[in-house]
Symmetry: D5
Subunit: 121 residues, 10 copies
């Protein structure tokens, strides 16, 4: 799983004198349930206030597509993606919300939030 990180690219944030908010919404995330082997589907919303770097869109898409055939739980895939992006971007603020589709009459959201030490909006 290490090499997923190499898919992600960043570019310089040339507006770092200001706190501003970027939200990328990925409508078609899919991975595989490790228990049943059936596919899971989710919408992923990534919101952050950049510090030095912004994530490049195409690379973000490829990174998220790389989970397509991985068997991984809702709670863990959400935390995993949050860890990767927080580590790479070192953002002032970060929030990832994953909305998983209905399974057996039950839908699930997982939300991870991260605020850089000392950051206040």
């Amino acid at each position: 799983m290490e090499d997923k990180l190499t898919l992600l690219e960043v570019f310089d944030n040339i507006n770092s004198h200001r706190n501003y908010r970027i939200v990328h919404t990925v409508h078609e995330f899919t991975s595989v349930c490790p228990k049943t082997g059936h596919p899971d589907f989710a919408t992923m919303e990534i919101e952050y206030i950049p510090e030095k770097f912004c994530v490049e869109l195409k690379s973000l898409k490829l990174y998220l597509q790389s989970f397509r055939n991985d068997g991984i739980f809702y709670e863990n895939v959400t935390n995993r993606i949050a860890d990767d992006l927080i580590g790479l971007l070192q953002p002032r603020y970060f929030r990832l919300t994953a909305n998983f589709s209905v399974r057996g009459g039950l839908s699930s959201d997982v939300e991870v939030e991260h605020i850089a030490d000392g950051f206040e909006e």
Copy 2:
């Protein structure tokens, strides 16, 4: 009613270094009105920040299905489910919102919130 609890299963929260939010929405809860014997229908939204444990999805579904033929009031079934899940998960934060369908031109929501002692987000 004691044995409903045995239906619920948990798994370890491997991301407990972080506060993150899980929301499970059960679209098809049904129980029975103890006064009229007619079925009641509700959507149940369970939101929590886990401490040591997460609730396993399939077991949550079976637990909620076990109320199908129980006669119990809106206010009481909501508090009962909240008590069971809070007792089992010992979450940092917990909220249960039950949205009961229209009866006689009148719909009802019941919402229970619980914050662990000393927890601050």
Copy 3:
């Protein structure tokens, strides 16, 4: 299953000189999947042009509630209800549409239509 029929009541159609259309929509039908034992949920739309009789609403509700704990397939429960109501009401026109909720990313509708011999609108 015979005695479900005794739950249904009719009243006289006092406007039979005219073709007019009645649609009853039951938002909370539930039965049980005979394979998995899990509950199924559906919205049932019953449309008909009455001849001699109209179905009484409260009795229709009780009749449909009686399937609550029956194990029966989508296709069969829809045809069964259609057979019962067509037999009882002998309507000029009849259509039953059942919309079953999402299961495993898949939702299903079943629609039965019946036109009395010689009836033309």
Copy 4:
């Protein structure tokens, strides 16, 4: 009930050389259930192609308000209103659709259509 009819007023259709369609939608019809004494609520849609007369709007409103405290079944109130308006307006085409609100998880529509003898659109 006879005197409800005196509430309705008409005005001359000055465009009778042409078939054109008028639809009045009354969003707040209410009457009383003759069995339970509880109020019923409906939206009434009146569609017609006028011949000699159009119904005056304010009088239509007062006529429909006059059912407010009458105990009368869905099927019958719809046919009654249709009979009154068809008798008064002698329209080329007429359709009344009544959408009654949810009662016990069940909503109902009643639709009456009338085409004048020899009328073809």
Copy 5:
């Protein structure tokens, strides 16, 4: 108007160790405009945190139906219902929101909120 209060019934709140929220939404409230005599229509949303008592649903419905033929202004009927329910339930928190339907291109909401002395959520 005194005897409307006798229509309301309460039951004991057996979960008073906890603050929890109950919301009843009545979709079909109707009264009469004291100026024009025309009917008014509203949706009433009653939200409260119970102390000793909860309001019984059927009695709430009958109480609200009792305004059907009363002539009373928007602002006053909303405050009147709030006064009655606050007096009866002595809730920790209470809010009533009345949404009146469009009249002359103009719709109106009236909202009353009440917090028991010393109550803090």
Copy 6:
């Protein structure tokens, strides 16, 4: 009222070898009720298959704005506009649908259709 017609401009239909459909929807039509003096509001949908001419958009807007302070009934203003446009454009097919906003809990639509002699789609 004659001079309203001078506001309308046409341009040549350079695609007359083909039947094609044009729909202009005017979201903000307003005139005045001749009885009460209060303003009426409507959405006007004009659909036609052109023969020799198309109506110029800006002129159509000015023509419709010219009714702003005219007192005229729903049924008559709709037929009047239809007459003007049919006379000017001589279209193969024409339909005007006017949707008037809610007044006293009652909304109204008026629809006029015209097919040129001998035209078949």
Copy 7:
């Protein structure tokens, strides 16, 4: 423009022992653009907590209709109406939100808020 104020009427607030909120939404406001002469359309939402007076609904409607043929900018008409109502009602709290319809692919809102000196909710 002075005499618009004479159109507004008030009535006594008999519930002034309590802070409660009134919202009137006018769906069909129209005035004229002073630059182009074309009509503007807006929805106006007036929210206030009354002190001594409430605004009478019919007079509010007539007052707002009086702008129908006035040429006035978005920003100014909104402030003008706010000034008039604040001056007349002396409310504890006041907010006016005007939502102007799309012009040239661009829609606009203007929002004025006013809090009486010393008022705290």
Copy 8:
């Protein structure tokens, strides 16, 4: 690709004395674009009137999941699935509608319809 067919199972249609309609909607179909290698997403609606057989739901789901990593064009995957199901079920009527998600500001639907020889509804 041959062996995908072995995933599909049927069961006997016990209501074949009647024409009735079954619609299965699969909300989460995904395959791969053969040109770019990026995933495609679609909703598939399968509507049919059964003759001798109905398709078993779970097997239908597994069959459709088997396309997850296949590179295949919109037009071809839709025709392929239609061919498989028509061959297997020999239905009286069949329609497959595939709604592919937005790519580059462009979304696509493909619809295949099949009517058995001599079938008339």
Copy 9:
């Protein structure tokens, strides 16, 4: 304008034994108004039943983007695109619907339909 056609590419329809329907919806078409120089925006829906050829998606996108800075009327751009695609694809059935955004409170649709000689569905 001739060379726009060279942007379009086709591929062979390998399912021509069957009539099936393809719908491409382009959500972000933009051209320029030849009178005012302001940009126009539309959604274009292209529906066809292919004969020998299907239009390649990426080339369709580039072809439609090529109108970005062209000054051309609604009616004419729609007929132009229809002519180009009909000429290229020679489809059994073709329909183009263009929905142009609101301008001055007025939105417009233009719809062109074409049926190949002798084609009957």
Copy 10:
């Protein structure tokens, strides 16, 4: 790019004694992706509390149209527009939210907020 600024015009804020909020929503912003050359589409929402100046609407439209053929990244075009408007208007409060349309299953928002030194609402 300097001369875009000359497109913007302001007018005096004659209501500067009060903090009030203006929101302009531009539904049809388009620029070009500097990497792929394909057009990007966005909705731009500009919210501000004016100090001395308001932005004139028509000039705002022309200013935003001037980006039509510029190649510029999401993050940068949003910050650029914010810088231009903040510099020109010197508003008490400013927020720009840009909602970019779906590309490759991924949509993006960028939000810039600015509060004048010492301003407190």
